[in-house]
C-alpha cells in the first residue's frame, strides 16, 4: 500500500517539458532519494506534488485521495509538506514566529508557540528562537525550512536539497537528524546532489534525467546501472 502514488505526471513550460510522464510510488514510512543532474526536473516535480504549480497532465494520489490540482494550502493541510531549495523565510519575523505560523495550522496561538519551540529544539535551532530569520546563516535557514515543515506535522515531507550550501562539518548532524525523523515514522522524499548522504539515507532511489524517471529501485543497484553513470558523466559525484 503506497502513501503517495504518482502516475504520468507531466509539466510543460512553453515548449520545455520539465517533468515528463513520471510514475513513482512511495510506500508509507519509506525514505526515498531522488537524484538527477541540474535541470532534471526534481524541484518542478516537488512543486507539482505539493500543489505549488498545477500539472499539465497526470495524477497524484496521497493517502488514497486524488489530490491532483489541489492548491498548495490544501495539500499541506492534508499532510504532504515541502521545503524549498531556495530558502523562503518570513523575513520580518523571528525564527520562532516563522515556525509558529506552521504550528498554528493545528492549534491555538498559545499552544502553537510552545509547539513551535519544541520543534526548534528538535532541529537544534532553539538557541536562535528570538533571532530575526533574515539574519540566519545558510545552515540555520535550512533547518528553519525543515522546522516549519515539521511543525505542520506532516505524514510525508518533500526535502529539496536541505544539505546544499552546508560545509561538510554541518552535514553530518543534519543527516543524523533526518535519520531520526525517518526513524520516528516520517515518510521522506529527498532530493539531493550529495551522493554520500543519499546513499546513507535512502531505502529507495529514483534517478531523473530530462524530466523523466531514468530508473528506480534499490540504491546500490540503481547507481551501478550504465545509463545512470552515463547521465552523470561529467558530474562530480
Amino acid at each position: 500500500m503506497s502513501l503517495l502514488q504518482v502516475e504520468g505526471l507531466t509539466k510543460t513550460f512553453a515548449g520545455l517539458t520539465a517533468v515528463d510522464s513520471v510514475d513513482i510510488a512511495v510506500a508509507d514510512r519509506v525514505f526515498l532519494g531522488i537524484i538527477g543532474p541540474n535541470g532534471a526536473g526534481k524541484t518542478t516535480l516537488f512543486s507539482l506534488l505539493a500543489g505549488s504549480q498545477p500539472p499539465t497532465a497526470g495524477r497524484v494520489v496521497f493517502d488514497d485521495v486524488d489530490i491532483t490540482g489541489w492548491s498548495a494550502q490544501k495539500v499541506a493541510r492534508a499532510g504532504l509538506v515541502r521545503t524549498f531549495q531556495l530558502m523562503r523565510p518570513f523575513e520580518s519575523m523571528s525564527v520562532l514566529e516563522n515556525v509558529t505560523i506552521a504550528s498554528l495550522a493545528q492549534r491555538s496561538r498559545k499552544d502553537a508557540r510552545r509547539h513551535a519551540l519544541g520543534v526548534l529544539e528538535r532541529v537544534q535551532l532553539a538557541q536562535y528562537a528570538g533571532t530575526s530569520s533574515g539574519s540566519l546563516p545558510t545552515a540555520g535557514l535550512k533547518r528553519l525550512e525543515l522546522a516549519r515543515a515539521l511543525a505542520m506535522e506532516p505524514r510525508m515531507i518533500l526535502l529539496d536539497e536541505v544539505l546544499a550550501g552546508l560545509v561538510p562539518a554541518e552535514r553530518a548532524p543534519m543527516i543524523e537528524l533526518l535519520r531520526e525523523l525517518h526513524g520516528d515514522g516520517l515518510t521522506v522524499m529527498f532530493v539531493e546532489h550529495i551522493m554520500a548522504a543519499v546513499m546513507a539515507l535512502s531505502e529507495r532511489l529514483v534517478v531523473m534525467h530530462d524530466g523523466r524517471v531514468l530508473t528506480q529501485g534499490v540504491p546500490a543497484e540503481v547507481i551501478a546501472e550504465p545509463q545512470v553513470v552515463e547521465a552523470y558523466l561529467g558530474e562530480d559525484y
Binding site: 506552521a102 519551540l117 506535522e153 516520517l186
Partner: protein
C-alpha cells in the same frame, strides 16, 4: 485516512509551558504605550487654543486614516493608492444618513465601516483574483477611487458636485455628535477613535489572521505551502483597513459640517492616508501615528503660507496643490534618508 495522533513529527517533547523563551510581552508593552499616550494627549485641549486644537483634530483624522491604511498596506503588503474610496464611503455615508435621514453619526460609523469593508473586499478580491500585485494593485485601487469620485459627482441622491451641508443644531447633542465650537469633545472623540484603531492594530498583528497576513506579505508561496489560505488572510486585512478608514470619514463630515466629492474621494485624500504611514514607518504600530503628528501640523503650515505668503513667496498666493507638492518632497526625502520611516528607523537603531 489520516490519524493525526500517529503523525510522526509530533514525536518531540514540548517545552515547559512557562519556558521563558515563550514569553511574549510585545502586545502588553504596546497597550501600555497606548494607555500612556492617550492619557498624555487627552490633556492637550487644556493647553491648545481654538486654532491649534483644530490643527490637532485634523492631525487625529490623518492618523486614523493612516492607521487604517497601514493595516492593509503595511501589515498586509497590499499597497493601496485609493484609500480615498473608503474615506469617502465613510464621509458620504455619514452625510447622507444624517442630512437626508436624520440618523445619528454613531450609527453611521458602524454602517460605514461595514459598507466600506465590503466594498474593499470586493475590490481587493477582483484585483487579487486577477493576480494584480505591487504597482498594478496600487493603480487598480487608484482607478476605483477615481471611479467613485466620478459616480458621486453624477448622482442626484448624493447632491452631485455640491456635496452635503450638515445642519448646525441649536444645542449640544451627544447622539448627533455636535457641541459648542471649540469644545474639547471635538478632540477627545477622534482621540478615542484613534485609540480604538491602534488597539485593533495591536490585537490584529498578534492574532492568527494578522500573523497569516504578514506571512503572506513576506512570502506568498511559502505561506501557502504551510497551509495558509492566502486570499482569506489578505481579505481580512483589507476589511479591517477599509472599515477603520471609513470611520475617519464619518468623523470628518461631522467635524467640518460639510463634505463634497473632492474632500471625500479626491486623490489628495489617498495621498493623505499614505504619507503619514510612510513617513512614520510602514508596517509598524506607531509609525502612522507619529507620521500624522508630522504631517498634520505641516499641512497647516503650508495652508497658512498659501493664505498669507511672505513677500518673496507672494507668487504662491492662492495657488492650490502646494500641500501635495510638499508631501511629495517630504516623502522623497524620507524614503532616501529613512527608508523605514521615523519610527521604523529609530526602532531598528534601538535594537542593534
Amino acid at each position: 485516512m489520516t490519524d493525526t495522533t500517529a503523525r510522526p513529527a509530533a514525536a518531540h517533547e514540548l517545552p515547559a509551558a512557562d519556558d521563558p523563551r515563550l514569553k511574549d510581552t510585545w502586545a502588553r508593552r504596546q497597550l501600555l504605550v497606548l494607555v500612556a499616550g492617550v492619557a498624555v494627549l487627552s490633556t492637550l485641549p487644556l493647553f491648545l487654543g481654538e486654532q491649534a486644537q483644530s490643527v490637532a483634530i485634523r492631525t487625529l483624522i490623518f492618523a486614523i486614516m493612516a492607521v487604517g491604511w497601514n493595516l492593509m498596506s503595511g501589515f498586509g503588503g497590499m499597497f493601496s493608492f485609493g484609500h480615498a474610496a473608503f474615506f469617502g464611503i465613510g464621509a458620504y455615508t455619514g452625510a447622507y444618513l444624517l442630512v437626508d435621514h436624520g440618523i445619528s453619526p454613531w450609527i453611521s460609523m458602524v454602517v460605514a465601516a461595514v459598507l466600506s469593508a465590503a466594498v474593499g473586499v470586493a475590490i481587493a478580491y477582483l484585483c487579487l483574483r486577477y493576480k494584480l500585485a505591487g504597482s498594478y494593485f496600487a493603480l487598480a485601487t487608484f482607478a476605483f477611487a477615481q471611479m467613485f469620485l466620478l459616480i458621486v459627482q453624477n448622482v442626484d441622491a448624493l447632491h452631485k458636485t455640491e456635496g452635503f451641508n450638515v445642519e448646525i443644531l441649536p444645542s449640544d447633542s451627544w447622539s448627533m455628535l455636535q457641541f459648542q465650537q471649540g469644545d474639547p469633545l471635538y478632540f477627545w472623540i477622534p482621540l478615542a477613535i484613534l485609540a480604538a484603531a491602534v488597539l485593533v492594530s495591536i490585537l490584529y498583528v498578534r492574532s492568527r489572521a494578522g500573523q497569516y497576513a504578514q506571512a503572506v506579505r513576506d512570502d506568498e508561496v511559502a505561506a501557502s505551502s504551510l497551509g495558509i489560505n492566502t486570499m482569506r488572510a489578505r481579505l481580512i486585512a483589507v476589511a479591517l483597513s477599509c472599515g477603520v478608514t471609513a470611520v475617519a470619514g464619518v468623523y470628518y463630515t461631522q467635524y467640518y459640517f460639510f463634505v463634497g466629492p473632492e474632500q471625500a474621494f479626491g486623490s489628495a485624500v489617498s495621498v493623505e492616508a499614505i504619507v503619514p504611514a510612510v513617513i512614520g514607518g510602514i508596517g509598524t504600530i506607531w509609525g502612522p501615528v507619529i507620521g500624522a503628528m508630522v504631517v498634520g501640523p505641516l499641512s497647516e503650515l503650508v495652508a497658512t503660507v498659501l493664505r498669507n505668503p511672505p513677500g518673496f513667496l507672494s507668487f504662491l498666493q492662492g495657488t492650490s496643490g502646494l500641500d501635495v507638492a510638499v508631501y511629495a518632497t517630504l516623502l522623497i526625502v524620507i524614503v532616501i534618508v529613512m527608508p523605514k520611516g521615523i519610527f521604523g528607523t529609530i526602532r531598528d537603531r534601538w535594537r542593534s
